[in-house]
């Protein structure tokens, strides 16, 4: 009987757990370790943050799902991994102290560690900014936004700044959704003229989103995501600044450096800034108790897998096979990492270092769809290894499609969303020798009410799928 441990029950870990449970649950020992007893549907936290969705609608209890799939659930925080002795050290959430979870195969799917400390003054707890990157944060942000709205109702003009709070931040898509949803909310309340909205981001250009932007063909003309987002901001009267790396936040003031190395500041009354994302930050030990973390994870704590690391960006941009295919650690072949937890070989967007030596680069996103796909692949390979002794599944981000629906108002009557389909996520200039290295036939982007319907539909279908309900396998990640 094989022991499989999955750390993290997010998009990657939950998808993997369902595949593992359905294929192995009855004969083998599958355990999921997660900090909380619920799954959290992150994309809808944008709506929680503007008070348009009840937080409970974005979660479900994990244990009943796992019971159905013959999966053990251990609620706690994994802190260390003993790679030779093959166990994970877990701090139980019930106060029961530390526990060892033994494994033959380990999947690390812990998502992002939110590094608020990376930018002094950032974050809702020790800083002066809001966040929608966790459910408690989104609830707190909603409350702060409504305080801001209350001030507008009294006639005060308010400045709202949304974007990235670290020079190397990612997840610009979520911030974009948040600012457009605020616009729609204020419009609905007749308060839009009381607010100045500003987009402040580390992207090279608008619409970069950490994927080097998009080019699409519409009626024979090429349109870029830069133009597309400009026209949205123009329509919504949202000011924007890009190429800004936020260095510090003080009450009412954001300090940044730009691409040229100039320093500047931006005032705010309310701000939601995405922090830098880091990897799980485990300590890894070998059989002699030596700390081997630097061999298992990169400086950001992301788990090293079968990527080609260390290429300069221009070479990486020409080498799609540098992106990992099976997400397996090269030293410990029974350790895999999926979703945000794996270490990418570099950024998709061209990096920039300003004259002061500050890197201002949109880090590569690993969205829900991408994380789900990687979760499936790693699970199927672990199943393969247990049943057949060899892996048969592989998919690089340079071979992977992703769909992203950026909500711009949640209403099913007059809401809107930008539906973005991108293939492949990481450009492959050899297969697609055009300007963007992508399939122009598949890559697409459009805006309209249909997108708002899509976003709702995807919320429901994913909540259905990830609870392992009937037909779950037919809903593609």
């Amino acid at each position: 009987m094989a022991k499989v441990v999955v750390i993290g029950a997010g998009f990657a870990g939950q998808t993997a757990a369902l595949y593992l449970g359905s294929a192995l649950g009855k004969q083998h020992d599958i355990t999921v370790i997660n900090k909380y007893d619920v799954f959290g549907y992150t994309p809808s936290w944008v709506w929680v943050g503007v008070g348009q969705m009840n937080p409970e609608k974005t979660t479900f209890k994990l244990k009943p799902v796992y019971d159905k799939f013959h999966i053990n659930f251990l609620q706690g925080t994994a802190t260390a991994i003993y790679t030779d002795d093959q166990y994970v050290l877990v701090e139980r959430s019930d106060g029961g102290g530390e526990e060892k979870a033994a494994y033959d195969y380990l999947l690390i799917a812990t998502g992002a560690k939110l590094n608020f400390a990376g930018t002094p003054g950032l974050g809702p707890r020790d800083g002066y900014t809001s966040s929608i990157c966790s459910l408690p944060h989104a609830i707190d942000t909603r409350d702060r936004l409504f305080e801001t709205i209350a001030r507008m109702e009294k006639g005060e003009r308010q400045k709202i700044v949304v974007g990235t709070g670290h020079p190397d931040a990612t997840c610009q898509g979520a911030a974009f959704e948040y600012i457009t949803n605020i616009h729609k909310l204020l419009e609905k309340r007749g308060l839009r003229d009381k607010a100045d909205l500003l987009w402040l981001s580390n992207e090279r250009a608008l619409g970069d989103f950490g994927v080097r932007g998009l080019h699409i063909k519409k009626k024979g003309q090429v349109m870029t995501s830069d133009n597309f987002i400009r026209s949205v901001f123009d329509l919504y009267d949202i000011d924007w600044q890009v190429q800004k790396g936020v260095r510090e936040v003080e009450p009412g003031k954001i300090y940044w450096e730009d691409y040229e190395g100039a320093e500047g500041e931006t005032d705010f009354d309310f701000t939601m800034l995405i922090p830098q994302f880091l990897g799980p930050g485990f300590t890894y030990y070998d059989k002699d108790g030596n700390d081997i973390t630097s061999k298992m994870a990169n400086k950001g704590g992301f788990v090293l897998v079968d990527a080609i690391y260390g290429l300069d960006w221009d070479t990486l941009a020409e080498t799609p096979e540098a992106w990992p295919a099976v997400y397996q650690n090269r030293t410990y072949k029974n350790i895999f990492a999926a979703g945000i937890a794996f270490a990418p070989p570099g950024s998709i967007s061209r990096p920039h270092v300003n004259p002061n030596g500050l890197s201002i680069t949109a880090a590569p996103p690993r969205t829900g769809m991408i994380s789900g796909i990687i979760g499936r692949i790693t699970a199927l390979n672990i199943i393969d290894l247990i049943k057949r002794g060899r892996m048969t599944h592989a998919e690089r981000m340079s071979e992977m499609a992703a769909a992203c629906i950026a909500s711009m108002g949640d209403s099913l009557w007059d809401g809107s969303a930008a539906t973005i389909v991108i293939y492949p996520v990481v450009p492959d200039p050899r297969t697609y020798p055009n300007e963007q290295g992508r399939d122009m036939f598949v890559t697409d982007m459009e805006m309209g009410l249909a997108g708002a319907w899509m976003k709702r539909m995807i919320h429901s279908t994913f909540m259905h799928k990830l609870q392992g309900r009937i037909g779950w396998k037919f809903v593609p990640e």
Binding site: I373, A401, V421, V442
Partner: protein
């Protein structure tokens, strides 16, 4: 270059019948993208 979203385009983006059609098309587009993905 900023392309303005015209009044006509805004109406198109919120026309329920057209958008129902776009909803179907978008679903097909996403399925097409999934199909193009390696999924091995």
């Amino acid at each position: 270059m900023t392309m303005k979203i015209s009044e006509k385009e805004q109406k198109y983006m919120n026309n329920k019948i057209i958008q129902f059609w776009r909803f179907i098309v978008l679903n097909l587009k996403i399925l097409k993208a999934v199909d193009h993905s390696k999924r091995s």
